[in-house]
């Protein structure tokens, strides 16, 4: 099947959680992966080549780039601008695109994507688990 930002995130995040991100891919494959992810950025990010950008990929692809150690390669202002444009001024919430119906998924992932950008007022998020660092800390405390 087609390479996709969502499944790419799942694969990379899974490897990161297994502490297997290092050593699973050859250098050539790793560079190709970084390149493919960076290519997703148009303003915000799309999930596949030649598809429209969608708020949620600011997280799926953004988090993947964070885990690959090259999040700083993206153009942050365009990314931030896109996510903020996807807000629904009438009802609140965020949508996949500007001027369409907001939903819980895009609202959450839009915020998560903004958190990766270091947006003030948002808790920092764990890119592999997609929950706040505060929640991760809490989970660790529960185990002990």
């Amino acid at each position: 099947m087609e390479s996709h930002g969502g499944s790419t995130f799942c694969a990379v995040a899974s490897l990161a959680l297994m502490k297997r991100l290092d050593g699973t891919f050859s250098d050539v494959k790793l560079e190709g992966l970084k390149r493919w992810c960076v290519q997703r950025q148009q303003t915000g990010f799309n999930g596949r080549p030649n598809k429209p950008v969608d708020t949620c990929y600011s997280f799926w692809v953004g988090a993947t780039l964070k885990l690959l150690g090259c999040y700083d390669m993206i153009e942050k202002d365009f990314n931030r601008g896109y996510v903020l444009e996807a807000q629904s001024p009438m009802t609140g919430g965020l949508s996949k695109y500007h001027d369409t119906h907001p939903d819980a998924l895009h609202s959450y992932l839009g915020l998560s994507g903004l958190s990766l950008l270091g947006e003030p007022g948002l808790l920092p998020v764990d890119p592999a688990l997609n929950i706040s660092l505060r929640a991760v800390q809490h989970l660790h405390e529960l185990r002990h």
């Binding site: 087609e2 996709h4 960076v38 030649n50 598809k51 090259c70 700083d72 390669m73 993206i74 153009e75």
Partner: protein, 320 residues
Amino acid sequence: MSDPEDDKSDAFVLYRDRPEWRDVVPLRQDDDASVVAIAYSEKFSDVFDYFRAVLKADERSERAFHLTTDAAKLNPANYTVWHFRRILLKELTLSLDEEKRFCSDIIREEPKNYQLWYHRRILVEWMGDPSGELDFTEAVLEQDSKNYHTWSHRQWLIKEFNLWDGELVYIDELLRQDVRNNSAWNQRYFVISSTSGWTPDVLKRDAEYTVQFIKKAPNNESAWNYLSGIVVGQRKSTYGGLKDTCLEMLSNHIQSPHLLSFLVDIYEEEALDRENDSRNDSLPQALELCRKLGSEVDTIRKKYWDYRSRKLEQDYRESQ
């Protein structure tokens, strides 16, 4: 599908008002713990109260089956409904052709629903017969040529029932309609990989095929990705005159970032090849293209192109 207006239609009678259902005690959903309680319509609550009841009682009857029809139409994403419906389909030996038609109707309304496509796959597996399936996926792709579920179903059909014949023709038709259809390019890779494989002749044919599409639309990421993908086992810098093709496009002032990027790959390959006598010339060529990409042609990826430049210089030094 869950239209509150249906509550007012003459056709629908709430289950709690149906005499033939009087023997069943509806089960309310436990919403006490809900942080944000969903405002279900009266019809929705009614149907699902009765669904919960028959599920708990494991009542495998025709009336239970018709209840799952109402439940599925109200929330086609409720996989418990579909699970129970499949049990009933088997137990009551109901018509699978009719079930596929029902499935098709809802897919047409909600083509991105996972449960519907899964249900369809199970039905086709049970029937062991893919008749009409490729046509159905084509009809859905006509509405949305990139629907991931549809392509996934189509790939499964083709693999499972050996329906490879004619697929390349179909893909070609899609590409002529939209050369930027990444799903179609992916499908081409899938078919060739699984049938002839990438023999030297096939590779040559496909590289030429792709270059034709690139020349028509030089800024098409999908075609360039496909080209890069199929020549993975080769050296980009020497294979099939691609370098010459690219340099010719460059001299015709084609400003595609993908063209320049492909050339960066070519020059990088040459620069890092110890056997290559002219590799000292290749490095500055690659760096110049990276500079051009970062500052003019692909500025959104400036930091990436800066990274590529640094990496190139470092890799070059280390390869000495």
